[in-house]
Every structure is written in C-alpha cells, then in structure tokens.
C-alpha cells in the first residue's frame, strides 16, 4: 500500500478495491454452491490454492485450523457414506472373508455428496481467508460507504475483519491455558475435541465481552457516530483497473461455469 498525498491534501490508497475482492468472494461462493461436478469443484479448489502460491499468500494463516477442518471433513464424509444408501452400489467397506462379512455397503450418492460438501466447505474457507487476510478493513468500510451504506454499519462490518486475527491469537492462548490446567485438548482425540469445544466458549465469551466494552469506549470516546457523516483521510477509489479485474474475473467464472 502506498500513501499519496495530493496537492489538495487528498490522501489516496492505491490497492485493488476491496469491493471487487468482496464481489469475487460472493461470485465464487455462488459458483461453488451451484457446481455439482466433483472435477470442477476440486479444480476450483486447486486454482484457489495455486493463487495462494502465486500470490505468495501465507498458507500458515490457515494452519491452526487445518487439523480442525480435516476432522470435520472426515466426520462429514463418514456420515454421508454410512447413512446415504442411494444411487448405484459401489463396494463394501469390509469385504466378505469366508463366512465373515461383507459389511458397510458404500453407495455412489453417499460418496458423491460427502466429497461435494467437503469440496465446497474447504473452497469457501480458502476463498474467505484470501479476502480476510489481504483486505484493509477500513478500505473495505470506505468502499461500502461509497455504495451509500451508512458508515456506522460499514465500520461495524470492517471491525470483524480487523479483529479476526486477534480472535485467532486469543483462541490459541486459551487453548494453552487449558493445557496448563491439565485439560487434554488434543483435537486428534475425541475427548480432546470435546474438551476444546466445551471449555473454549466461556473464556472466549468473557474476553470478547471485555473487548467489546473497551472498543465501544474507545470508539464513542473519539466521537464515533456523533454525526451522520464523517471525514475520510483516506479515500478508496474505484479505478478503471478495478473494473477490468472485475470484468475479466466474472468472465472467467462464467466460462468455468459453462464448460
């Protein structure tokens, strides 16, 4: 981000308009939810992850959640595969050995839906992480205000982006504090996962309420919301290149949809 101060003291931030990024997130999410072709879903996921690599986007921002996501995905797959007995029969998970078995029949629809949900779930998370970690929350608020969204609402939305990393750090500290008091929170074990979910909520709510109080004092104490308008030191413009990016991106998404 480069800061440019014009002759008439206008300060302009030159970066891709966050609204363009936000529209991409929405378009890609809609696309993901309308794709019923596993090859397309997973190709899209690979493309997003390739963007992580090309855009030098840090994988480690999602690292703490990978284990949790993996467990969730496996759980979804098992439920779908075990309980959806529709479509063509594929194979038995435990084949017949002599007089023993066969057990647990696997059907095409169960496997298909399981894989589809996983692909969509990981895809949405991966796309959202790009947006969250590459967007200046206040630029996003400013671009929403350009759309005539009241600034109080726009800033409230942007604050959730601002505090997303803080929330991650806090959850991590709480997990450490749980371990330090002898609680097994290893998400690789069932007990650990249950403990993690059960005992994270109370401290997280406690510290979040404290934070909300402090943030309210901090913002109201600096006149936030006292007028219906406010000055903006920085302006987020919609440049021609943003329009080009949006057009090309939408075209690519459409092509991906029709092929």
């Amino acid at each position: 981000m480069s800061l440019v101060i014009d002759e008439d003291s206008k300060v302009v931030v030159r970066e891709t308009n966050p609204l363009v990024k936000f529209l991409f997130v929405i378009l890609l999410s809609v696309l993901l939810f309308n794709l019923y072709n596993l090859v397309k879903v997973y190709s899209m996921l690979i493309l997003v992850l390739a963007y992580y690599k090309v855009g030098k986007f840090p994988y480690n921002v999602a690292k703490p959640r990978i284990r949790m996501m993996t467990i969730f995905c496996i759980f979804i797959l098992i439920v779908q595969v075990l309980f959806v007995h529709e479509g063509e029969f594929l194979f038995y998970l435990i084949p017949a050995i002599g007089f023993f078995g066969p057990f647990i029949p696997i059907y095409e629809t169960g496997l298909f839906i399981g894989l589809l949900i996983i692909g969509r779930f990981i895809g949405i998370i991966a796309i959202s992480w790009v947006f969250i970690n590459s967007t200046n929350p206040f630029s996003f608020a400013r671009s929403l205000i350009k759309l005539k969204i009241p600034y109080r609402i726009a800033y409230t939305m942007s604050l959730s982006l601002r505090f997303a990393p803080v929330f991650t750090i806090e959850t991590n500290i709480i997990q450490k504090a749980q371990n330090a008091r002898g609680l097994n929170t290893n998400p690789n074990t069932f007990l650990g996962l249950v403990n993690l979910l059960r005992y994270t909520l109370i401290p997280l709510i406690g510290s979040t309420l404290e934070r909300i109080k402090d943030i309210t004092i901090s913002m109201e104490g600096r006149g936030f919301g006292c007028y219906s308008e406010r000055t903006y030191l920085f302006e987020t413009h919609f440049y021609l290149k943003d329009l080009l990016k949006l057009s090309i991106g939408t075209l690519l998404i459409w092509i991906f949809w029709i092929i």
Partner: protein, 481 residues
Amino acid sequence: MDSVLIELENVNFSYLNRPSRTLKDINLKIYQGEYIVITGESGGGKSTLAMILAGFIPHIIAGTLEGSVLHQGISSNMLYISEISQLVGLVQQDPENQLVCPTVIDEIAFGPENLMINKTEIITRIEHISNKLEMVHLLQRSTNRLSGGEKQKTAIASILAMNPKVLILDEPSAFLDVPSIKNLLRILKELNKSQNMTIIILEHRPELFRNSLTRTIELKNGGIIRDSSNELFIKQELKILEEEITRLNNLKGPETLTDILEIENINVFYQKFHILRNISLKIKKGYIYGIIGRNGAGKSTFLQVLANLISYNGNIFFRGVNLKNIPSHKLAKEIGIVFQNPNHQIFEKTVIDEVLFAPRNFKISQAHKSADILLQQATLEKYRQFSPFSLSYGEKRRLNLASVEVYEPEILLLDEPFIGQSYDNIKYILERIKRRKEKQLTTIIVSHRISLLESFSDYLVLFKKGFLQKWYASKQREEEK
C-alpha cells in the same frame, strides 16, 4: 487559580445489578494544568471514577448515578459523549483493546475524522503529534504489529488528536518496561508543561510520578480518603512491602542443591522471527527465580517453553525426563503457569468450580479442603458461588493463582503477576510465594518490576533480544552463602 474543568458534587454510583455503591460521596474539582495521580486499592473505584470524569458514565456504562457531574460548568447529562470527548480523553489500561484501526495513521486520524474536521487539519495534527511523541516511523505500521510500548504511544496519540484539555491514563505503567515508562513520563510532563494539559493518572504506584505530580488522591471502598497537593502519602513500594520481603528473605533454600530443570540450547522461531536464541540454564529446586528484560525480550515465551506450551528446538529435562516426551496437559501437574490475562484462564461458571477445575482434570479427589483454605486466604470465600467473571481484575488474578496453587505444582511459573495489583494483592502473592519456598517448591516469575523482583528472588535471569544475557544470585542469596 486555573479554571475548573470538571466538578463532581456528592456523586454516588452503583453498577447495574450490584447492590453496593462503587463510588460514595465523591466531591472533586479538577483544574486546568493539574497533574494528578489517583491511587488506591484494587476495586476501590479508581476506574469507575475515571469513567465518570470521561463521561462514559452515565452515557455508555449502565448504572445509577447520583449527584452532579459538570464538565466546564455544564451537566454531563446535557452533553453528548462526543462533546465530552473533546474535553477529556481516556487511555485505557490495555491499549490492545483500544486500537480499532488497521494502521497507526488510521488510528490517530479516527477521532478527528468522526468530528468532521477537514483533512488538512487532520494531517497537521497527525504530523504534530507524531513528531512530539517521536513516532513518525510508526505511522504506516499495522497496529497488530506494534510492541506494548508502541501500542500505548499510539493510543495516547489517538486521544491527543482530539485536542483534549484533560488526559486520563488508566494504569499506564502496567505493560511497560523501565525505559518505556521513563519515555512516557517525559511525554506527559511535556504535555502538562507546554500545553497546560491536565494529566490524571490512575496508578497503584504513584511514586513513579513523584517528580511531576501536583496532587494525589487516594480512594478506598469507593470514597476519597485523601486528597492532597503535597506528596506526603506517597511511599516507596519496597517500604510498603518490607515486612513480606523480609519474611521471604529470612527463608533459606534447600540444604542440598538439586537441578530440577536443565535447559539446553533452546531456540524458538515464530514465522520469520527468532524469539529465543540458544538459551541454556539450570534451575535449582526450591528457589525463586526472577526473569527480567525489556518488552519483547522473550521472557513470556521462555515461560511457555518451560510449560511445554509452544514448540522449540533444544532440550529441557525435568527430573531427568525430556519435556518433549510429556504432553503439556500432563506436565501441568508438575509445572503450573499463571498467564497475564485473567480472562483467558477462567473456564468454569462458579469460583469454587474454577479452583477445582485442574484437580478434577488431574483426578485429585482430596482437593476440596485445600480449595476452601485457598479461597479463604485469597479473601474470595464470599464469592464461592459467584461467576468468576463478576470479580474485579485483582480478584480474578488471586483466583487464577489459587486455581494453580490448589494442586501445588513442583514449579510455578508466574507471568507478570503484579500488573494492576494493589499492594494488598502483591502482599498476598508474596505470601503464596513464601509458602512455596517453605515447602521447597520452585517459583519462576517474569516481571517488569525489577526492584521488587530483585528484593526477594534468589536468582535473577536477564533476557535481552531473545538471548539469556546473564543470570546471577541476588544480594540476599549471596549473603546467605
């Protein structure tokens, strides 16, 4: 005499759903150009008084306010909070929670933007303040990437950008190391002298400000018990705690020296940062270790390494067993840790359940009696069935300590235990440490309060930029030898 900026007459205040009054019969006049330190015990009403002075009570915080609060002669009820904010600015205790913008320049501009001040004026203010506070180099930095001292500087700058006549700081020294405190004192003195700005500090340690202050106010149980323009009632910290420190120093360590922790060549990396570098140290059983160093030196990380809570290169042996072979939740029974933020380590719905949380995890069945005794000693017995979140900051810290002390870990790690603590609370902590030493248990404490730590620790360990600079026996330990 300078003009009266804020006037409180017969003010009483009680929070919603709390039967007792937090503030009682407060009569106070704040004049322009004063440098005031408001001191007193934890839960004595300091922060509530600051909330009234800054207008957050009655405008944001719910409760019953009686009496008259005037800001420049106008009743606080008749003013909008945005109007009061141009007269009084409040810097909260934890600057982390106060910063709402992604970058420092955004943060400083935030207030003036809300007041619809034109851009040229905002830029002028940013330039002026950032020069004054020597923080021009920070303007483009992300607020997430600032050190504790830098965050506080940014919080102060963001309030100064509103051009207030009164600046209130809640426990400004809490998260700062000695050089940062000195820098803060210089800035505040300069603002007071050059701009005739009224400075109000809420502090447990008024002696830090003795060279600048013009008035001290002491609160107890919600009332003003002393209000003086001289500094007669400011005592030195070590004098107040003299008795406890002497008792601690009179205790001798174990007769035979045993290494309970052997730390060999520890390195810690976080992303591209090298946080701890080649740390080697032997910790002896039954002694008190004080860990000192500047903000960001790696002290807290070191404690987390010892509790096996973060990954590291190198080896640590506890009674000869490599810590890497012990899961952290099992090691916790032997090595307990109390973190800085009390809210992060509260897991249960009642105070008594909170104390019994760890014993239940360790399947210690006989912990009820110890829990009762600890609650009594921590003067938390009356809150037994209360939610831990309803306690004051100081009470939560005592609860945190009791929750670990209940199972008496062989090694206790305390991360900044004295932050925001009144002397009564510090006495309680020192008493716990003394009991541990009597039982020949080891205690390792990280703190910025160097003189306090030096006064009772057996060994001091100095960290600098991730390195263990040196470790040495304290004076009393040398004398004992």
